[in-house]
């Protein structure tokens, strides 16, 4: 029997008194609660409640590996006021109340992603059975969009899993896998996928016969912290202070969620639900949430972008990967390729001890994941087995893609390219992992320059989420799409940049780093510079970043940028002198900071002497420091876009967010400028140019926007 009209998202089959409702939204890869779906679901529930033949319900998904991915984001993005958004929240709550208060028991049969609104749906059910499949994940990712669970999640999760586990899920937005879910009591049973439906139906029948009694979990300490007023108060206070520290005043949603949870615990769901809706409405209207949602849409769109203008050719399949250079970058790429893409990787370096060193690095990366239990020992062994190495081109003749990660030297890169082309199969893509050398210069050495492209990874490769694919003058679209597609298989967020010095990420980083050096030379203490930018929202300040990147690498890159762009990107502080002083940054434990047992400690005061700077006594006013640093970067981003380094602002924003940790709540450089308004940006830059020099002269596109009232993104509200 089939119920409902409209979307046709639900199919109901009777199984001896149990109505099995299958959710399968047509023409969509995921199930989500749109307006139409909600209406249909409500009508379906009402019909089944009225049907005397139905004793209990089971809700299951008809999608292969998705239960319910959540609410429809487009819908609340369209909300214009907090009241509109709160209304959406209440509508969701009422729908799920219909489930929760159903006199006939409702059982959720969960396989695949059960996130956001999906999690709230199963929380409203009376019993939850999940598949033990690795594809099954549960979570409340709302805070990642600057929101809070608004369809009853903040109210219903704590009673189900206990306060501490609920806070962990809601405040971090992290996903949990099946065995964690059963341990915390989020699901009642974990079964193989093949019997998921049958077990859920049996449970529904059982619940129809007799009400369920759940035993409290977690022992005495669990009872105290999760279920008593005093224990809860202690947990909430600790959670608030930790969250306040972590969000540094930039992200209001986790704190709002804490408010809702506390209120719900104190006053009950009858009052808690309306309060949840109210705070949801408030959060949906914050700039932070808007930016985070925009970032979400941008990365989602980027995942579908082939990387070249239409008509985009199909990417070439990459079944085997070669990596030239078994250093830290090369072996990092190899490890990620084995783990994420599952392709056999061959490493090559000049001698076997270096190859062994590379394999050791790969093993370290694999073993760390085994230790953290993100993969099993067997999976780790499989990944290791995919990576082999040698000193000759064995394994490279059949490679579909070869990534070079040799020393940053044009002649050397050209030489390895020539050597490779002598043996490689026709059509093999050669990707250079250079960060400073123009791809087109490297490609000059090629017999097949159309197959040469840049794949600029960030270090450490296994942690950094961004990949810049760099298109040289003669790179064929097929080569670009192949690099982009493979980058995605590596789990990276991929942006495409044209072959201008620094590409995009290092291009906007250069004036920022330079300005930090200038501030340092002007007497601003290291700690004050870094503090100004972490307060602005960066995860680390520019000086710490220099130590992480390596002062030798930064000096070299700075030199390249100065050569290409002249005075505007001239280095202000003599990194070369620090390198000569034996300071390479974190990698050798000596840099701007002191390192004790591999851990960064205080700034190293002797740096000032080496550079000939005199630090001013604190306190230093952070605002002008942050302004100079931020605007140096924002202005350069605008220039890079003008030059066509990136195809659209979206790519630059995502690149800055994932490549250098640009504050997510600001949405990226272009979103930041749009939020300020071009007029304000130009005024600030003009003022900075007058005081500090012509390098701050506003980019032409900003001037034009200020004049005509333009923006980088269309205004959508």
């Amino acid at each position: 029997m089939s119920a409902g009209s409209g979307t046709g998202a639900f199919t109901t089959v009777m199984d001896d008194g149990v109505a099995v409702v299958s959710f399968d939204l047509p023409d969509e890869s995921v199930n989500k609660f749109t307006r139409a779906v909600r209406a249909e679901f409500a009508a379906l529930l009402a019909g089944l409640q009225a049907d005397a033949a139905v004793r209990a319900l089971v809700i299951i998904s008809g999608k292969p590996d998705i239960f319910v991915a959540g609410a429809d984001i487009d819908e609340f993005v369209a909300a214009r006021t907090a009241e509109d958004a709160a209304r959406l929240s209440r509508v969701g709550q009422q729908l799920l109340d219909q489930v929760a208060t159903s006199p006939k028991p409702v059982v959720a049969a969960i396989h695949g992603a059960c996130l956001g609104g999906g999690l709230e749906l199963v929380l409203a059910c009376h019993y939850r059975v999940a598949s033990d499949d690795p594809r099954t994940v549960l979570g409340a990712p709302e805070v990642k969009l600057g929101l809070l669970p608004g369809a009853g999640g903040c109210n219903r999760l704590p009673p189900v899993v206990g306060l501490r586990a609920a806070l962990d899920l809601i405040l971090t937005g992290r996903n949990v896998r099946p065995n964690r879910a059963i341990k915390m009591g989020l699901v009642d049973e974990l079964v193989p996928r093949a019997i998921l439906r049958d077990v859920a139906v049996a449970a529904a029948r059982r619940l129809a016969d007799a009400p369920l009694r759940r035993r409290p979990r977690g022992g005495a300490a669990g009872w105290f912290f999760d279920r008593t007023a005093l224990g809860q108060a202690i947990v909430l206070r600790r959670a608030r202070s930790m969250t306040a520290k972590q969000t540094a005043g930039h992200y209001p949603a986790p704190l709002a969620a804490l408010d809702v949870i506390r209120y719900s615990l104190a006053s009950g769901q009858v009052l808690g639900l309306p309060y949840e809706a109210e705070r949801f409405g408030e959060m949906a209207m914050t700039d932070v949430s808007r930016r985070l949602v925009e970032v979400f849409f941008a990365t989602t769109a980027l995942k579908k972008d082939p990387g070249v203008p239409p008509p985009a050719p199909a990417p070439r399949p990459v079944a085997r990967l070669g990596v030239l250079g078994a250093g830290f970058m090369g072996s990092g790429i190899a490890a990620v390729a084995a783990a994420q893409a599952g392709v056999p990787v061959r490493l090559k370096d000049a001698d076997l001890p270096r190859v062994g060193g590379g394999l050791k690095t790969v093993a370290g990366i694999v073993e760390e994941r085994v230790r953290r239990r993100s993969i099993s020992r067997r999976e780790g062994a499989r990944e290791m087995a995919l990576v082999s190495g040698g000193t000759d081109f064995a394994g490279f003749r059949s490679a579909d893609l070869v990534i070079e990660a040799v020393f940053e030297d044009l002649e050397l890169k050209r030489q390895v390219l020539r050597e490779l082309e002598a043996v490689a199969r026709p059509g093999c893509v050669f990707a250079s992992n250079t960060s400073t050398i123009p791809i087109s210069r490297i490609a000059e050495a090629s017999q097949r320059p159309d197959t040469v492209v840049g794949m600029h990874f960030f270090s450490p490769v296994h942690r950094m989420p961004l990949l810049e694919v760099v298109v040289g003058a003669r790179t064929a679209p097929e080569t670009t799409v192949t690099a982009v597609a493979f980058g995605r298989r590596l789990g990276k967020t991929v942006i495409v940049a044209q072959d201008r010095p620094g590409f995009f990420v290092n291009r906007i980083l250069a004036p920022y780093i330079n300005e930090a050096g200038r501030l340092l030379m002007e007497g601003v203490p290291i700690a004050a510079i870094d503090a100004a930018m972490t307060a602005w929202g960066f995860p680390v300040g520019p000086i710490t970043l220099l130590d992480e990147v390596g002062l030798d690498v930064a000096a070299k890159a700075g030199h390249v940028m100065q050569e290409a762009f002249g005075d505007r990107l001239a280095e202000a502080c003599n990194l070369g002198a620090l390198v000569a002083d034996g300071r390479l940054g974190r990698k050798n434990g000596r840099g701007f900071f002191l390192y004790r047992a591999g851990k960064k400690s205080d700034p190293d005061a002797s740096v000032y002497g080496v550079l000939g700077a005199t630090p001013a006594a604190p306190p230093v006013d952070a605002a002008p420091v942050a302004e100079r640093l931020a605007f140096a970067m924002l202005n350069e981003a605008a220039r890079a876009l003008e030059e066509g380094v990136i195809a659209q602002p979206r790519d630059g924003d995502v690149g800055a967010l994932f490549g250098i940790g640009f504050p997510a709540f600001r949405g990226g450089p272009f979103r930041t400028i749009d939020a300020l308004g071009a007029r304000t940006a130009v005024d600030t830059l003009s003022r900075l140019a007058e005081t500090h020099g012509a390098r701050f002269a506003p980019a032409a596109s900003l001037l034009a926007q200020a004049e005509r009232g333009g923006r980088f993104y269309p205004s959508h509200r």
């Binding site: 056999p344 061959r346 076997l352 001890p353 050791k360 093993a363 087995a385 995919l386 064995a394």
Partner: protein
């Protein structure tokens, strides 16, 4: 020559891990892992499309209790699709020779086009067994329903039940160890201590030369040993500076008073693996390979283990030559597995003896005269080492490569094996 029974079968390439004396550099790498490492390198070096491999056949003499079908573990390397069937076999020390023969048979008969054949052994990682009684108590205890009963069962353990049982390299049928058999052969065939020591010295010198000039090294897949991942690239049993005096000073190992077999003139216990890519001629050529050599024939034989245990080759070789349709004198290179110098010399004695041929083979004259200049030209198992399951693959690879270098038309592989067995294979260059 096209196999009498079907298609022509090519030896395309082979490689092996370094052979390391057991208990040394490779001791922490299991035999399964060694086999996978050798195969992975073979795949990389030949650039063969792994999906084209029809079958994986591996030999191992003392399999792991946990992974008894080592070949399947090899074909489950992530480089392969999961759909490559595999089987493991045991013809004692001729196991990987037999794996190559198996590949030859299947390809010749049209059952397969591409086979990875090899062998592996880790004598650092042999299964040590519990006594029968202790094993029984453990099984009973695991079936006990209560903790009390379980403890009560285990309490019946006697100290002597805990003495582990180590597999010995001895004939189950006669109880004689290999060494004792080699000693017996030396005595019965009149192989002197000096002749054995000279032969051992020759093995080391030639192996050292083959390593120094890169011919042996070229066949070796470097193994990067965790946790430091330092590369191991050469066999560690080869002595570059050994002398006859040093060898003469060693005490006999199996017969202290009248013996002549020593640790110096016998092959050491060794860890290692080998892998050989065997293809039908058509498939090899279609894929653009220039085969090193072709299999022309092979033969196996067995003798009474209670007699001269390691004389199998003396029977298998003439049979293989006969099947190949060639005479001994046409062989340009001969590779004999050196379990013991006394065994090699005993077999050579038999090959060269008219009387032996008449008595044991019913032939009118001897099998042939062994030209020392073309025998084991890069040394043999005494110097290089002898991981039981892997040796055949090593010998086939070494022979095929050297046949190509010297452009020799016919080459012979001869391996003696436990149980009185002998294995022989004739390769041809064109």
């Amino acid at each position: 020559m096209v196999g009498q029974n079907g298609r022509r079968v090519a030896i395309v390439a082979g490689c092996r891990t370094p052979f390391a004396k057991s208990g040394t550099v490779l001791k922490d790498i299991s035999a399964v892992e060694l086999a996978r490492l050798a195969t992975r390198e073979l795949l990389a070096r030949t650039e063969i499309e792994p999906a084209k491999v029809d079958q994986v056949v591996f030999g191992q003499v003392i399999p792991s209790v946990l992974a008894p079908n080592v070949a399947r573990e090899v074909s489950l390397l992530p480089q392969f699709p999961k759909t490559v069937p595999a089987f493991s076999l045991n013809r004692a020390c001729a196991s990987s020779g037999q794996a190559v023969a198996e590949a030859y048979d299947q390809i010749a008969l049209g059952q397969a086009d591409v086979i990875v054949a090899g062998g592996t052994e880790s004598l650092s990682d042999i299964p040590i067994l519990h006594s029968r009684r202790f094993a029984e108590l453990l099984v009973q205890a695991s079936r006990a329903r209560t903790l009390g009963k379980r403890l009560a069962t285990l309490a019946r353990t006697r100290p002597r039940d805990l003495v582990p049982v180590t597999p010995a390299i001895a004939e189950p049928s006669t109880g004689q160890t290999m060494g004792q058999s080699a000693e017996k052969m030396a005595k019965e065939n009149g192989i002197t201590r000096r002749a054995q020591d000279e032969f051992a010295l020759r093995s080391h010198r030639l192996a050292a030369q083959g390593t120094a000039d890169g011919r042996l090294t070229a066949e070796i897949a470097p193994v990067f040993v965790p946790p430091a991942y330092e590369p191991v690239t050469t066999d560690n049993g080869i002595r570059t500076d050994g002398t006859l005096e040093q060898l003469a000073a060693l005490k006999p190992a199996f017969d202290r008073r009248y013996g002549s077999v020593t640790a110096g003139n016998a092959s050491p216990l060794t860890d290692g693996a080998s892998a050989v890519l065997v293809m039908s001629d058509e498939a090899a050529r279609a894929a653009g390979y220039a085969p090193l050599a072709y299999v022309r024939s092979y033969a196996v034989a067995a003798v009474d283990p209670g007699g001269q245990l390691l004389m199998g080759p003396a029977y298998a070789v003439p049979r293989a030559l006969e099947r190949a349709g060639i005479a001994w004198k046409e062989l340009g290179l001969v590779e004999m597995h050196e379990a013991f110098a006394s065994q090699v010399l005993s077999n050579i004695q038999a090959f060269e003896s008219d009387m032996w041929a008449r008595e044991h083979l019913g032939r009118s004259g001897r099998v042939g005269e062994v030209n020392r200049d073309t025998l084991n030209v890069m040394g043999g198992s005494i110097a290089i080492g002898h991981p039981f399951g892997a040796t055949g693959g090593r010998i086939v690879t070494t022979l095929a490569n050297e046949m190509r270098r010297r452009d020799v038309q016919f080459g012979l592989v001869s391996v003696c094996a436990q149980g009185g067995m002998g294995f022989a294979m004739v390769l041809e260059r064109r």
